[in-house]
């Protein structure tokens, strides 16, 4: 019984902690700057990394 209460409390606490810490979500701002800065440093000029995005058909059925 006590063990189940401890397990329940641990699970609830961890879910609250992970939710309030935004673990697993993408970061905008400083975190994004750092990531992109590193990526751009490693890219050679003219590599076309940021070529205009043309997604086109998103369907897996590829009909038209």
């Amino acid at each position: 019984m006590i063990r189940s209460i401890i397990i329940a409390a641990a699970l609830i606490s961890s879910s609250i902690l992970m939710t309030s810490s935004y673990i697993g979500y993408s970061g905008a701002g400083k975190e994004y700057f750092k990531k992109v800065r590193e990526e751009r440093k490693s890219l050679r000029a003219g590599s076309g990394y940021y070529a205009p995005y043309m997604g086109g058909s998103g369907s897996f059925r590829s009909g038209k």
């Binding site: 329940a8 935004y22 979500y25 905008a28 940021y50 205009p52 059925r61 009909g63 038209k64």
Partner: protein, 468 residues
């Protein structure tokens, strides 16, 4: 009661006197839509089949239906007292339900009281029922072909089931035989359980009440199982309490998920101010012709930093329908401070802005605080199921923004055909995460089900017990 000699005689084929053996038959079951194999008794001499509606079947398969005959609470010769009436267990019958191919048995223990009255204890699926003879004020089993009238209550004859005797032990007040059928009706009247048993030459009516194993152990002083019974009940209670804790945890997680899911605050004014920088500029890439538009919305205020935000995009079909075509976009969230650093006081000058956005991908230090790329599409085609028409005209993404402040939403829109830049809508909302509450909810449900199941099935006793 049956004797060994009678069993040997009845193990012979009624047609040719040949020996009977276990066999089986396979047929196609239309309801199950598969081949089903059922057991049969078969004569080795003439090949005659005996199915579960024959006595011979139960002689042949008796060992499969009685292998656990010693795993019972009651034993022959037990003496005890219930409600100040003394009983002695003198005989036992085990029945198998005729319609079941798998083992589906119950034990009927015949007891005699000190004053010579017969009493019956039934062990079935871990439950114990105590039955005594009952003489009804009125019963009519014949005049209605579909029902029995029992003291004014109609008992449908379709509720009947047939039990076949597969084991006979001890001294019984009549002479039963292996395979003998008995048609039974179980029903409840005025809160009391009744059973009508109809065999070839007699009808017996009993009324019963449910007892628990603890009552029987105590009444018949069965000390052998007392300790294991107490331990089983203690463990089941413990599992029951644990399941309640996990159920409470599941409720909490679900409520937290619901609360988070519906706690959204929309950021006002995202699409309030708009600067269309370019509209449907044609370009060609890898042999594909397309059009590009650039739009800058803002500035708008994002009032809280270190919070989770959701940005959603959709095609506004009131402005322009997306019909059998694609449209993709690149969205950037740009801090006003960063844009002012580059544009200075010319932040409203389309020429300056165009120059900046022309170089946006070449800047060593990114201008944008976040980027999202996605597309909308509308397609049709034909496959083995025939014609299909599918589309995806909305998209959403979550991100954590570390700094509050004023922001711009910059969008590059690419399309197969010329499209209005106003046909794409953007909404940004402050949201709360709920994914971990859902995960924990699922864990709690699993723990709840495991413990709930153990609170009913945990058993240290050598027989089934349904007590809580």
């Amino acid at each position: 009661m049956g004797t060994g000699k009678e069993e040997l005689v009845s193990l012979k084929c009624s047609s040719c006197g040949g020996g009977l053996v276990k066999s089986s038959r396979t047929y196609y079951d239309k309801e199950e839509e598969e081949d089903v194999t059922v057991p049969l008794a078969k004569c080795v001499q003439c090949g005659k089949d005996y199915d579960q509606h024959t006595s011979e079947f139960y002689h042949v398969f008796a060992d499969d239906l009685t292998y656990d005959k010693d795993s019972t609470l009651f034993k022959l010769g037990l003496k005890g007292s219930i409600n100040n009436v003394e009983y002695e267990i003198i005989g036992r019958l085990r029945y198998q339900e005729e319609e079941e191919y798998e083992k589906c048995t119950w034990d009927e223990w015949v007891a005699i009281s000190a004053d010579g009255v017969f009493h019956y204890f039934v062990e079935e699926d871990g439950e114990i029922w105590s039955y005594e003879e009952y003489i009804p004020e009125a019963i009519d089993m014949e005049s209605d072909s579909s029902a029995i009238l029992f003291e004014g209550k109609r008992i449908s004859k379709s509720s009947a089931y047939t039990g076949r005797i597969v084991l006979i032990e001890g001294e019984l007040p009549w002479k039963p035989e292996i395979g003998e059928p008995s048609t039974c009706y179980d029903f409840k009247k005025d809160g009391i359980h009744f059973t009508i048993e109809q065999s070839e030459d007699e009808v017996s009516i009993t009324k019963g009440e449910k007892l628990n194993h603890g009552q029987i152990l105590s009444a018949f002083s069965i000390d052998t199982y007392k300790e294991k019974y107490d331990s089983t009940i203690k463990k089941r209670t413990s599992y029951g309490k644990k399941s309640l804790v996990y159920a409470a945890g599941a409720c909490f997680s679900l409520m937290a998920a619901f609360f988070s899911c519906f706690s959204t605050t929309e950021i006002k004014g995202v699409m309030g101010q708009k600067k269309v920088l370019t509209t449907n500029v044609p370009f060609e890439e890898n042999g594909t012709k397309a059009y590009q538009s650039q739009v800058l919305w803002g500035p708008f205020d994002i009032p809280e930093g270190n919070k989770l935000y959701d940005v959603s995009f959709a095609v506004d079909e009131k402005v322009q329908k997306l019909n059998l075509e694609w449209q993709s976009f690149r969205f950037m969230l740009i801090s006003e401070k960063r844009l002012l650093d580059l544009a200075g006081d010319k932040v409203n000058d389309p020429v300056v802005l165009n120059d900046i956005f022309e170089e946006i991908d070449a800047m060593p230090e990114p201008l944008e605080s976040y980027i999202i790329t996605a597309d909308f599409w509308d397609e049709e085609g034909r496959d083995s199921d025939g014609y299909w028409h599918e589309s995806d005209k909305s998209y959403g993404s979550d991100f954590v923004l570390d700094e509050a402040g004023k922001y711009y939403a910059y969008m590059e829109i690419f399309s197969e055909n010329p499209r209005s830049p106003d046909s794409v809508t953007i909404a940004i909302s402050r949201v709360r995460g709920y994914r971990y509450y859902i995960v924990v909810f699922a864990i709690f449900i699993i723990l709840y089900l495991i413990n709930k199941s153990k609170s009913k099935s945990y058993n240290e006793l050598p027989f089934e017990m349904a007590d809580k």
